[in-house]
Structure formats: structure tokens, C-alpha cells
């Protein structure tokens, strides 16, 4: 798509040049804000991106059979208001510019209300709990004046609805253990339905679940009243009140807790809620000007324990879900979970209470296709320039000795490796069309590159930190090539590219030391059977808190139609992801084989997982011998299975897996005590530099798309004062 003409200059004034480094969510958000029509072309943005595709940790590509190959599992939450706001505006703009043609954003997102967690059964083995979360009014990204999820009334209304869902609507089920070859007679559904109703009612009465649930619900209403009276009632009195409520409710439940999995979860959920409520008052979170940040020096579990949660609740899958969703394991070690308590509580509030529509929103294609391709097209049309195959090497500061009196330090130059040059110096055209959708390919288009054929033979890995081959070097200088810099690389990459800043600035040094990251691993399989045939009997959704190394599974069968399987598409697709432990010693910067070795490790992990663990979720996916039914996997190069598919584990090699070990791809953690060391994009220590990413102090302060988008909006504000901070949704939040 050609950029629109005449957008670069504002009268006779040349636009201010912004160099945006990195093409992930934060950088894209910053670019989108800086180039809004209201600025009338005052800013010209150039995005510098290593490799051939935008996206950063959110990138995806299209491989064989057009199948989607993601960096990891990318599910958007219904509370991602900033991310959805910008994305919806992007889609609207594209349609407007295309005379109303084009897809609506909601055609490409699938609301998902089913969340499941896995846990150890009291009777041995695994048991799963699944809930259908009730829809919330509105859609994510809706204006707040029509539907504000941040009011106390909304929080409590959602709290009641959530309690009802969790306590009355959670289903407990266990893998049946049926083998693939067993054939069971069809049940008499009508007879079973009435029996099931009677049995359910009798069960509820026997265990008093309804009574207990209602007590918990009413206790919540009482808390609402207590909170509203906070100004008049001494705080320690309210604390005593809360502790009394907690004791009364706990007494209700303790009598019921037994070895029954079905009621055990109710107690764990209520226990966690009570501990959070007691803790909120004991730690004066409502009156502390720091809000939930006041408890960020505690680990989340530690804080729950301090506030009376039982060990059972602390170890329950309902606690683990927060850690697993945030990949909160130091060095990727499953035995070292760690998450700042304030971040955890804020995330819980946002996730459970502030979602609109559904709690989860899955994309109907890759994140690159649904998010970054439209943003690329919209930004191009606005006049943004894109420089692919540019890897940042160094951010050089001005000589401090030459600063004028009172002048702040600033970025003097940006040094790049140009990884590849295009033929004729033309702009690289990064997108391909698959089934009518603009997508990012899984590999660069070598035909556009000088020496592309050789690069393909040499197996150049443009996204690898350890592949340092380049075609040229480039130096950009302040006032000549740029005026401002938005540094949107991942925090893991900062030591390599900001050594000067880190050496001279103690705050930056503390930030890179304390704000830690973790590598991740993921794999995707495409299957010739659907979930029911695999033995998963409840509505498909997303499950977490399962076994390491792949504790999170998402059913992604809905993306198969967007792929290009031709005659024999798979029946479903499944994505798995988790943390990946670091090796004892970090690799040398020239160890070009490191990513491949880690990839082999992920492959082995995936095979072991499919052989040993998946049967707890998909009992019909294993043979009598216990081994995974490898013939279920669909080969993209031979999908019609004319030959009988091999039943050997080598068939896994036709699937997709990834070890995300590049420093910029590592997932940021929110460790206890680390958030205070984050630096905000608003920080003006270097007066022509701002930073953007989910690793910055962006208020949400947890690794996710929403935090990155908020950070990008903050970076734009830092440069041009827009958007107003009050318009960054959820920025001002306890």
C-alpha cells in the first residue's frame, strides 16, 4: 500500500522526526498516537525493525499450508481496553480509507467465556475445573462514559456475579480414562437429564453448597457497605469486622471441606477472596496513596498467607493460575514462582472484574495477521516509514562535557546493523495474501533482498540475537536523522544496546538488574480429530495450571479456516506454552547454534508431554501402551494422508515449536520488589528519549499486550502531550 501523499509536511515546517526502535505492541501504539490526524503531520515516524516482520513477542508467521506459527499463545483479555481501543480505531480507519470495504475488528476476534484450571485431585491424579464466565456489558475498548468497569458499584456487581459463577457454576470433571479403541453405548439423554437434575439438587443440599455460596455472596455485600462507611468508621474497627466475617464464613465452609473435589474448590475460592479482602483492609490499601503498589514487596502467596489464607488455598490451581498466566517463574524454574502481590491483585481485579463482553478474546488468525498487519497498513497510509532488517546496536549519548549549562543529557546517535538490503533500495514489502487476508510470512521474502538466494542457503536467522551477519552499518544522528527516539525494544535487549546509559545512570542499572525476564517455550499441533474425539467433553476454551513444562493449553481450532489446508484441513489445532528454564551459564554472543539447541530441547519437552501428560486432558489421544497417537498429527506437506500416516513420534517433526530465547523476546516478570525500579516513559532524564514496553512503569506493570499498549501511549504523551494521561484507560488505578 502506498503511503498517502502530502502527509509529511505541515506548511513550510518540516515535521519532527521520531525514530521508533522495535515493532512490537508498544512501538506500534506510540506510532499510532503520534501520527493521528489531529497532529496534522507534525511528526514523521520511522519504525526500525530487525528481521522481516513486525510484532516482537506478538509476532506470527505463515508456514507450510499457510498454517499460523505464533511466537506463543496470544489471547487478549476482555480488560485490554487500551489495546482494543487502538485496534478498533485502526480497523475503522482502514475501512473508511477503503470506502467501507474491509473486515470489522469483531469478525476477527472470538469471545471465549470458558476458562478451566487443572489441579491435583484429593483422590490422586488430575481433576479439572471449568467455568463459564457470564458476559459483561459492552465490548472491550468501548468508551468509558457508556460503560465504566472501574466504578465500585461495578466491581461489587461483578464480584457477586463472579462468586455465583465460581461457586455455583464451576463444573468438576475428570478425564474418563476411556481408550481410543473403546466404544461405549450412547446414553439415554432424556432419562439422564432428569436424574442429573435431581442428583444435582440433592448434592447441593447435602453439601450445603448453595447456602455457603449465598453466605459468601452476602458477605461481599456487607463488605461493600463497610467500605462505603470507611470515612466514618475507624479503620481498625472495619478490620475487626472483616475478620469476623471471614471467621463466620470460614466456619460455614470448614464443616464441608472433605476429600470431595467438587466442594474443595469452593472453599479454596472463598478462602482466597476472604484473604484478599482482609488484606486489603489490614494493609490499608484503600487509603494508601500508593494503592496496590504498597504491597509489591510481598510475593502474592506470601501476602495471602499473612492474611489468613490456608495452605490449601495458597497451593490451589486458583492461585497458580495467576502465576502461570504471567509466566511468573524466576529463571523459568517451576520451583521458584514469584509475583509482586500488588501486581497480582491489580491484575486479578482487572481480569475478573473489568472485562467487557467476555474474559478472553481469541483471534481468528495469527496475531500478526489480526493486529500487526492492519496497524502496518494504517500506519503506512498515514506516512509512517518502515525500515526492516535494521538491528539496533547502540544508543550513543552526547558527550556530557559538551552539554550547555542546564542542558539535559540526550541521545546523540543510533547505531544499526543493516542485516539485509533490498534490491534497488526499494521499500521492503513484508506482507503476503492468504485466503484474502494480509499476513506475515514465516520467513523473509529473499527475492526482494540483495544476495537473497545466498542468505537462504546460509540459513540466515534475522531474528536471532546470535546471528550477527550484516550487509552494512548505519548511523543516525540527532537533528539530522531524528529528533526524538522511542526505544521499544524488549528489556532483555537493553544491556546490549544501552551500555552507555546503563553505565552512567544508576537508575537504569538497577532497572536492568531488577526487572528480570524469562525465556518461554511453545508448541502447536494440528490434529485430525476434534476435541470430543480426543476425550475432552466440555466446551473448548483455555486451560491453565496444568503440568509443567506446558501448563497452558488453548484450543485454537477456530484458526484453521484462516489457514490454507486445501482439501483435508485438520479438525482442530492446539497451542501449548510455558516458561523455559535458563541454562546454568549464559551463551556466548557468538554462539550462533544456541537457538537451535534450545529448540531441540523444546521439541523433546513437547514429545515427552504428549506421551506422558496430555492423556489427562485428552484420554482418547493415547494408545493402550500409553504412547500418544502420533498418527493424529496432520502433516502440512501431506495433509490428505493418502499414505497411512506414520504412527511414530517422528511425525511430531511436521508440527511447530519454538524456544523464545532472544533477549528481546524474553517475557518480563513482576517480581516482588522489582516494580519500584521500573522507569516510566514519562521520565525525562534524556530529553529526546522515551521508552516503551510492558517492562516500563506503565501502571499495569505486568507482561502483557495491554501494558505494552499503555506504555506506547505514554511514550507518545511524553513526546507530544497526547493522549492525555486521563485518557489512557486504567492508567490512574489503585
Amino acid at each position: 500500500m502506498r503511503p498517502a501523499k502530502g502527509k509529511r509536511q505541515l506548511g513550510d515546517r518540516k515535521p519532527i522526526e521520531i525514530a521508533v526502535i522495535g515493532g512490537g505492541c508498544a512501538s506500534i501504539a506510540a506510532a499510532f498516537e503520534l501520527t493521528r490526524p489531529q497532529h496534522k503531520g507534525a511528526y514523521h515516524v520511522t519504525i526500525y525493525q530487525l528481521g522481516w516482520r513486525l510484532g516482537g513477542k506478538g509476532s506470527s508467521g505463515r508456514g507450510a499450508a499457510g498454517r499460523i506459527e505464533e511466537h506463543g499463545l496470544h489471547v487478549w483479555l476482555g480488560c485490554y481496553d487500551n489495546a482494543f481501543l487502538l485496534l478498533r480505531q485502526c480497523y475503522e480507519e482502514l475501512k473508511t480509507n477503503n470506502k467501507g470495504r474491509g473486515r470489522n475488528w469483531d469478525e476477527l476476534f472470538l469471545p471465549d467465556s470458558h476458562i478451566a484450571v487443572a489441579g491435583n485431585s484429593a483422590n490422586g491424579g488430575w481433576v479439572n475445573w471449568a467455568a463459564h464466565f457470564p458476559p459483561a456489558p459492552g465490548l472491550p475498548g468501548d468508551p468509558l462514559d457508556t460503560n465504566n468497569p472501574f466504578t465500585l458499584k461495578h466491581y461489587f456487581a461483578r464480584g457477586v456475579a463472579l462468586l455465583r459463577t465460581l461457586l455455583l457454576g464451576l463444573e468438576t470433571f475428570r478425564a474418563s480414562g476411556a481408550t481410543a479403541s473403546s466404544a461405549e453405548p450412547e446414553p439415554d439423554h432424556a432419562q439422564d437429564q432428569s436424574d442429573a437434575i435431581v442428583a444435582r439438587v440433592a448434592s447441593l443440599l447435602r453439601i450445603g453448597a448453595l447456602a455457603s455460596a449465598a453466605v459468601a455472596v452476602e458477605a461481599l455485600a456487607l463488605v461493600e457497605a463497610a467500605l462505603k462507611s470507611m470515612a466514618a468508621v475507624p479503620e481498625n474497627t472495619v478490620l475487626k469486622l472483616m475478620e469476623a466475617i471471614a471467621a463466620a464464613v470460614r466456619k460455614q465452609f470448614e464443616q464441608l471441606v472433605a476429600t470431595d473435589d467438587h466442594i474443595r474448590y469452593q472453599w479454596e475460592i472463598v478462602d482466597l477472596i476472604l484473604a484478599n479482602l482482609v488484606g486489603a483492609i489490614r494493609f490499608k490499601l484503600l487509603t494508601d496513596p500508593r494503592g496496590l503498589d504498597a504491597i509489591n514487596h510481598f510475593d502474592h502467596r506470601e501476602w495471602l498467607r499473612l492474611n489468613g489464607a490456608s495452605e490449601r488455598a495458597i497451593d490451589s490451581p486458583f492461585t497458580r493460575i495467576l502465576y502461570d498466566m504471567a509466566l511468573a517463574y524466576v529463571d523459568g524454574d517451576a520451583d521458584r514462582p514469584a509475583m509482586a502481590a500488588g501486581v497480582a491483585l491489580r491484575g486479578t481485579l482487572r481480569f475478573f472484574f473489568c472485562y467487557r463482553g467476555a474474559p478472553l478474546w481469541k483471534m481468528r488468525a495469527g496475531m500478526g495477521d489480526v493486529v500487526f498487519a492492519p496497524f502496518y497498513q494504517a500506519l503506512r497510509r498515514r506516512g509512517v516509514s518502515f525500515k526492516f532488517f535494521h538491528r539496533l546496536r547502540n544508543v550513543r549519548l552526547a558527550d556530557a562535557a559538551k552539554l550547555a549549562p542546564g542542558e539535559k543529557q540526550y541521545v546523540e546517535a543510533l547505531e544499526f546493523d543493516v542485516q539485509a538490503e533490498t534490491l534497488g533500495g526499494r521499500d521492503y514489502r513484508p506482507l503476503v495474501e492468504i485466503r484474502g487476508m494480509s499476513c506475515w510470512p514465516a520467513a523473509p521474502d529473499y527475492r526482494q533482498l540483495k544476495g537473497g538466494a545466498r542468505m537462504r542457503r546460509d540459513q540466515r536467522d534475522f531474528e536471532s540475537h546470535w546471528d550477527n551477519r550484516k550487509a552494512a552499518s548505519l548511523e543516525l544522528r540527532v537533528m539530522r536523522d531524528f529528533d526524538f527516539v522511542v526505544l521499544g525494544v524488549g528489556v532483555g535487549a537493553l544491556p546490549g544496546v544501552c551500555s552507555e546509559i546503563i553505565a552512567s545512570n544508576p537508575r537504569w542499572r538497577r532497572m536492568v538488574d531488577e526487572v528480570q525476564t524469562v525465556a518461554t517455550q511453545a508448541f502447536q499441533i494440528w490434529l485430525g480429530a476434534d476435541l470430543q474425539e480426543l476425550g475432552w467433553d466440555i466446551p473448548p476454551g483455555t486451560l491453565t495450571s496444568f503440568v509443567k513444562p506446558f501448563d497452558t493449553w488453548a484450543d485454537m481450532g477456530h484458526v484453521v479456516p484462516a489457514e490454507d489446508w486445501r482439501d483435508h484441513p485438520p479438525r482442530t489445532a492446539a497451542y501449548f506454552c510455558n516458561v523455559l528454564a535458563d541454562p546454568p551459564h549464559p551463551p556466548d554472543t557468538s554462539d550462533i547454534g544456541y537457538p537451535k539447541r534450545r529448540g531441540e530441547e523444546v521439541r523433546a519437552n513437547a514429545i515427552r508431554f504428549l506421551n506422558r501428560d496430555i492423556q489427562h486432558l485428552w484420554p482418547k489421544a493415547k494408545r493402550r501402551s500409553g504412547e500418544f497417537r502420533w498418527e493424529l498429527l496432520v502433516d502440512p506437506n501431506a495433509p490428505d494422508n493418502r499414505k497411512k500416516p506414520t504412527a511414530r513420534r517422528s511425525r511430531f517433526d511436521t508440527q511447530y515449536w519454538t524456544a523464545n530465547v532472544n533477549p528481546s523476546d524474553r517475557y518480563v516478570l513482576s517480581l516482588p520488589g522489582s516494580c519500584e525500579h521500573r522507569i516510566s516513559p514519562l521520565d525525562n532524564t534524556y530529553d529526546n528519549l522515551t521508552i516503551a514496553g510492558d517492562w516500563t512503569d506503565c501502571s499495569l506493570n505486568v507482561g502483557c499486550v495491554e501494558a505494552a499498549m499503555m506504555s506506547g501511549r505514554l511514550a507518545a504523551h511524553a513526546i507530544c502531550g497526547s493522549p492525555a494521561l486521563e485518557d489512557i484507560i486504567g492508567y490512574d488505578h489503585p
Binding site: L210, A221, A232, A244, L286, G308, F484
Partner: protein, 255 residues
Amino acid sequence: MAKRPPTKKRSRRKNPDRNGPRRGAFEHMDRNGDGPALVSKTVQQAITNMVQLSSTVIEEQIRAGQAAAARMRDGIANSRQLNTDVNLVIDNLVATTKDVGATWLDLLSIMARSINAQPSGPTTPGGPAGSGSSQPRTISQTGTSGGAATISNITAADPAISAVPPEIVVTGKGVQKVVLDLRPHAPRFVPIVRELLASGQKHRLSAVKFRLSAQKRLVLAVNVPRGQAAGTYTGVIVDSSTNHPGGTVSVTIGS
């Protein structure tokens, strides 16, 4: 990229108005429309608000229990297997939700003691706040009246309150059972019964009232008019002067 001639003056960022988010919770509530009007100004108002809220809560949860029971009944009625045992199960479900109302009243008494800053022992994390007073005792009396089984319970929050279960007098046809659960919180407790509802809000029964007998004893008079629909009718008892909830009553009418 074509290099532009260097600009003459280096562009610099302005200092932002602030460097971080506003985290105060009450500020957040104000910003998002939970203004000061919703926050109690005095202790008395706080108690009043809580009392009003609690009355609504009890009624709402009883209605919710009734609605759930009605749905359950409808579901089973359409199935091939329907028997009296199922109806009994559903009735017990409704009774259970009413029992929750009693639990709510327990919580209210805890709240009242806490708000009035009663002396209490040291608290442990998650442990109960010491109350310093003995637990209220429930006194029950069963009987029959007008062909209906009657159960009259009284649980006085204060030992100074005379804990004599009120008599229940039933007139009208078809009444199977009447259960009264009275929980006076103060000696000067003058109860009135709010309208009883059944099947969500489809059926109403208002002829249930307290009166004093010739012997100046409290009596619950249940007068069921002809043609009253079958069902279990439940409602809240409140103090007529303060609107403070003080119990529940249920009347089961057979078909």
C-alpha cells in the same frame, strides 16, 4: 533515507505534568462516579445504610432461591420422571435459602457489635474477632394450628430481651406449614411482616401480621384467603420503627 540538513535547534521534550499514575482508591472512586454522596458521613448513617442494604439483600436472596427452585421445578416437570420426592427436594432448597437469611442476621449482629466498638480480644490473622459476650440462644416451639404444622423460633441478640417464641395462629384452607424465625436485636423491637412472595414475584400473600394477644403476648396471625395459589411464600420481618431486619417467615400452601 535521504538525509535532511541538520535542524538548527535541538528538539527537547517538555517535562510532563506528572511522572506516574494516581493510585489513591477513594480518588479513583471519585473519578469514576462513586462520589462522596455514596460514602457515609457519620457512624449512624453507616449503620442505617448497612441495615437498609441488609434488608434488601435478604429479600433478594430469598427471591433468588425461589426463582431457582421454580426453574428447577419447571425443568423436572418436563421430564419423564417426576415424583413427590423431587418436590420435597425443591422445598428443602427454598428452606435452605431462607436459612441463609438467618446466617446473614448473625453477621449483622457481629457487625453491630464491631461498629459499637465492643471490647474485643487480640485478633489473629484470619481469626475471629473476640466478642466478649455469650452466643445468642435459639428457643423453638412446634405445634399445629388450622391444620398446619407450625415452628416458631426466637433468637434474642440481647439477654435482656424476653425470648418467648410467638404463637402462630393459622386461618384459611390449604396451609401445610408455617415457620417463623424471629431475631429481635433490641428489647424495643416491634416486628412487622413485609409482603410474602412465592414463585419469584408471581404470587403474593399479605395477610400475615403480628398482633398482641389478650395476654399481651406476641402472635403471628396467618390468614390465607380462598383461592390463594399453592407454593411456599417467604418474607422478611423488620422492626417497624427502624426498618432493621429481625427475622423471616415462610408459609407453605398446598394444592
